[in-house]
């Protein structure tokens, strides 16, 4: 049964802190106050990709997914958020016993856009694993956010949850908010997280130039490999390459 947020969220709600409320007005309550439910049955494996591309006009998108991963099941989700105005992908994942949740997300933001991933991964049973990899490339005055919550319940022992979030800022006005958040009530748990915000490495660019690689190409190569890390866990070559190609096209569209 779908539960409804009766109250419209405000900036005071942690999960909505960086949201674009102006854009959200167009989405509330129809799509924004609606959760799409995904069920992955016991022992099953499922994979989904979700691309929120930059289309013409001031369009935005809000996607909220509630994912139930039954015992010993596996669910992988790979997403690109690159809206020109606002995109929000919000995930609430319930990870069963011995189950795995994989999330790989790329944010490619330009202009004055806001793109965000808001994750709430809930390990309520023992032996589950989750892994989240987010790469954000931000240009102009764009804002990219990753609120990565991992919750481990008291009886959920032997959980292994990891998060890696990295952002690259191409312009001074760009912003990245990377917030890994662990909430752990069990004691036999392994959770690793890392978040870094950086810029294009000038030394690497010079090194590449000194070998004859023009600056545009060098930059593209660095960004392309950076963003591809978000999809590295996707083992199906065709699907992974398709996402990489989408991301590359968006990077090229950014210039």
């Amino acid at each position: 049964m779908t539960t409804h947020a009766i109250r419209r969220p405000t900036r005071k709600d942690e999960a909505w802190r960086y949201a674009d409320f102006g854009a959200l007005d167009q989405h509330w309550p129809e799509s924004a106050d609606h959760w799409r439910e995904i069920e992955v049955g016991a022992g099953e494996t499922a994979c989904e990709t979700l691309v929120m591309p930059n289309e013409a006009g001031p369009v935005s998108a809000v996607e909220r997914l509630r994912i139930h991963i039954a015992d010993h099941a596996r669910f992988e989700l790979y997403a690109i958020a690159a809206r020109g105005h606002y995109a929000r992908l919000e995930i609430e994942a319930h990870v069963g016993e011995g189950a795995h949740f994989e999330f790989g997300g790329a944010i490619i933001g330009a202009g004055a856009s806001t793109n965000e991933f808001v994750m709430d991964v809930r390990h309520l049973k023992p032996g589950g694993t989750s892994n989240q990899t987010v790469r954000a490339i931000m240009a102009d005055k764009a804002v990219g956010s990753f609120l990565g919550g991992v919750h481990v319940a008291r009886d959920a022992q032997r959980i292994d949850g990891s998060q890696s979030a990295k952002a690259m800022l191409l312009d001074r006005g760009a912003t990245a908010n990377l917030k890994p958040q662990l909430e752990i009530y069990a004691d036999d748990v392994k959770c690793a997280h890392g978040a870094t915000v950086g810029e294009l490495d000038r030394q690497a660019l010079f090194y590449m130039a000194s070998r004859g690689i023009p600056p545009e190409l060098a930059e593209r190569l660095i960004l392309q490999t950076f963003v591809a890390e978000a999809f590295a866990a996707l083992t199906a070559d065709e699907a992974r390459e398709a996402l990489e190609a989408e991301a590359l096209a968006m990077l090229e569209g950014m210039k």
Partner: protein
């Protein structure tokens, strides 16, 4: 091949190269030796066009072409190669992708066809073996997880693959053990060619025991203060820079 005249270069507001003149003819190997802070690396960066190394006067021609008028990648495509003292790590970009992209960008700049995947792989297998690195190294991110010596040998692999007209090797010998030094020296000797020249920037005469230079220059205070044959390297090693470049001896060589 490489003709540097009266070159002056600054880093920030500090003048490091003070009217340096050097003529490196095709087919020759020259060594530049000098104490710390004499401007060796600044010279190589200024020639390669690194940001922050500004040439304020003088000229540098490669095969008659004005290097200083080109962007760094154009200098490379024109045939200049700089082996870095501290090679850079580029995580995520494999050595194979890096080199193939570089070679094809240079070829495109010269209006040539791209190298085929097969030819490229054959060539790099050979060079990796020659410089004692594995193909596993080549598949990894550029210089990522490489030891100091492996990074220097990787600079040599890149040079051998790119086949430049003129290679400046900035302290490629530093941090190498004797075996690696021989591997590097063999590589340079193998690539010696009447149409190619080398400028070896080094602190020690050790490398020059294996690679016989045509000339040795002493760089001090941003200028070439003395030039001699290979014996000058030994003299420097024995006597030190101060003695060898003392004013009363400077004219004697």
């Amino acid at each position: 091949m490489l003709k540097i005249e009266n070159l002056t270069a600054t880093v920030g507001d500090k003048q490091i190269i003070n009217g340096l003149t050097l003529d490196l003819p095709a087919g020759e190997v020259h060594a530049i030796m000098g104490p710390n802070g004499s401007g060796k690396s600044t010279l190589s960066y200024a020639l390669a066009g690194r940001d922050g190394y500004e040439v304020t006067a003088g000229s540098a021609l490669l095969d008659g072409e004005d290097l200083l008028d080109m962007e760094p990648h154009e200098r490379s495509a024109a045939g200049l190669y700089l082996g870095l003292q501290y090679p850079v790590e580029i995580p995520g970009v494999s050595n194979l992708t890096f080199l193939r992209t570089a070679i094809n960008a240079q070829r495109e700049g010269r209006g040539e066809d791209a190298v085929s995947a097969g030819d490229f792989m054959r060539a790099i297998r050979g060079e990796a073996e020659a410089f004692d690195l594995s193909m596993d190294h080549m598949k990894r991110g550029v210089n990522v997880g490489f030891s100091g010596g492996e990074k220097k040998r990787n600079e040599m692999i890149q040079m051998a693959m790119i086949q430049p007209k003129c290679a400046i090797l900035d302290e490629t010998d530093s941090g190498l053990d004797i075996d690696a030094l021989r591997v590097v020296a063999d590589g340079i000797n193998r690539m010696r060619d009447p149409k190619r020249s080398f400028l070896l920037i080094t602190h020690y005469q050790r490398l020059l025991d294996y690679v016989q230079p045509d000339k040795v220059h002493v760089l001090k205070g941003g200028q070439i203060v003395k030039t001699g044959g290979p014996e000058l390297a030994h003299e420097l090693e024995r006597e030190g820079y101060d003695t060898v470049t003392a004013p009363e001896l400077a004219g004697a060589a």
